[in-house]
């Protein structure tokens, strides 16, 4: 029997590593059906709760004919936050077991491993977003976006999913156990609440306005809402993209350092 030749000295690059890692994470998350169902059910439930329980009591101004028109972008970003948070648990699981040592002994760097998790998280999130969007259409959401608007909205959404997932990956490196990791990401899932996602900022106490108007989620929600409903958005989409880019850059840098510390 002639064995498959293994050539020493031929090292694949980080992109190959990241692609293989993404395939791995996707395969694993596809089999983790409980988590998959939860990541779909939760945002849908929240949307239904907001639209049917609270919606009648919330005044969103004359621009929005019904609450569902107002709340869908917020639910989509909430969904992104929930979905991204699972990355922390997945990364933390990896760090706990011996698999990271195995990858390192195959000369795979920390960034490709995390990039694989983030890529899989992005795919998972986009599927979840599509489902949430479908339910939104069923209950009366009627987008009126231009082609450019659709494209820009999709771009902003992907950018936020990637950035939030990478922050989540960094949290996964920081936490000492998968349970702690999932706890740490809670704040990320709650970030959409003190924003214009579900209620107008004007209705919040005044001390909260400064935070709510300037936190990273608000420009994303404002742009998604404006773009999908075909309203004027000004430079808000670019502020949103700048936030996403900035968060991503910090998350990549921080996770690089954290990975080195954790694997010392």
């Amino acid at each position: 029997m002639s064995e498959t030749a293994v050539l020493p000295g031929r090292a694949p690059g980080p992109l190959t590593h990241a692609a293989v890692m993404a395939g791995r994470s996707l395969r694993i998350s596809r089999r983790n059906t409980d988590a998959l169902i939860m990541s779909l059910a939760l945002p849908i439930m929240l949307m239904l709760i907001f639209v049917y329980f609270f919606g009648g009591a919330i005044d969103t101004g004359a621009l929005h004919s019904s609450y569902v028109m107002y709340v869908v972008p917020g639910v989509i970003l909430l969904c992104a936050g929930f979905g991204a948070a699972t990355t922390a648990t997945a990364v933390s699981e990896d760090m706990k077991g011996g698999i990271i040592d195995r990858f390192r002994s195959l000369d795979v760097g920390g960034t490709p491993v995390l990039a694989g998790h983030v890529a899989a998280s992005t795919v998972r999130n986009l599927v979840a977003t599509a489902v949430v969007f479908g339910v939104a259409l069923l209950i009366g959401f009627r987008p009126a976006a231009s082609w450019d608007g659709w494209l820009l909205a999709a771009g902003i959404l992907v950018a936020y999913i990637v950035a939030l997932s990478w922050i989540s990956a960094a949290i996964g490196l920081l936490a000492r156990s998968p349970e702690a990791a999932s706890g740490f990401t809670f704040f990320m899932s709650f970030l959409p609440y003190p924003s214009s996602a579900f209620v107008r900022i004007q209705s919040m106490p005044s001390w909260l306005h400064g935070f709510a108007e300037n936190q990273p989620i608000t420009p994303a929600i404002e742009s998604l809402r404006g773009l999908l409903l075909g309203q004027q958005v000004g430079n808000t989409p670019w502020i949103a993209l700048a936030w996403a880019g900035g968060m991503l850059a910090v998350a990549i840098a921080a996770s690089g350092v954290l990975f080195r510390i954790r694997t010392r």
């Binding site: 293994v6 050539l7 020493p8 293989v20 395939g23 077991g97 040592d101 195995r102 195959l106």
Partner: protein, 325 residues
Amino acid sequence: MTSPTTATSRTDRKPYAIEAYGLTKSYGKPAVRVLDGIDLRVGHGSVFALLGPNGAGKTTAVRILATLTAADSGTARVAGHDVVAGRSAVRRAISLTGQFAAVDETQTGEENLRMMARLTGLSRADARRRAGELLERFGLTDAARRPARTYSGGMRRRLDLAAGLVGSPEPGVFFLDEPTTGLDPRSRQELWEVVRGLAERGASVLLTTQYLEEADRLADRIALLNKGRIAAEGTAAGLKGRIAGHRLDAVLTSSEAYLRLAGRAVHHSPETLTLGLPTDGSAAHVRALLDEIDPAGTEIDRFTLHSATLDDVFLALTSEVPAHV
């Protein structure tokens, strides 16, 4: 590897597969010295056991040599490359199996191996073929399509070994960190066979173990590691020879006989009327010895014969009790 001029490049024909000088490593605050200056030399194609109790520094030594942890001081070369300056080259030349099987539980055995193969740069087709070969070689073909979480401890360890082998050119350098810890006796036997198989293919193996028997059976050379230092190093026979040859422990039938023979003994146990008498262990000498001390054949009830064990060596050199098999 078609050109004849590359024939010698495989292992560079350096005298040692692994060589380390003065490795030290401390962890934590206040710093605890886990390795306190160890030297190691493992010849090409030999099996070397690092034997020691829990906390002796075995895993740290392996992690440094496998480039996963940096030593505080000292140098090491593996497969001819410095573990710091030539980290990537070392990683491509070695395969590592840790104490905890490093495979994905939710992926099947085959998926795990194909993933590892892809990470080493094999194409999809080659990765598939390589995974198939390794599954067969390690007796996992039937379980190839089952998630690794359904594997027994022994199967998992074999899958882990296969994963380590996936991208390494053979004969390579293997680090096996406590490969049989936590395995049942049968799985342990199977894993021993695997290690012997690697050795037969010319691999250089550094394995760590807390089991004296394992080191005795598998290793050409053994180093006793205790509290971060090498307490002794040599062949199993050589280490045993440091203590004694053999000892005949005779249980006598009467205290008169015990008192009469006590002067000749090297080991005394009056409560059980047992005396230890030195012997070289040969049948001729044992027979002559028994006839000489008990010509009537009535004074010795029964006897046991000991060769000095690695336990004896270990106890003598470290005064610490290692785990028994």
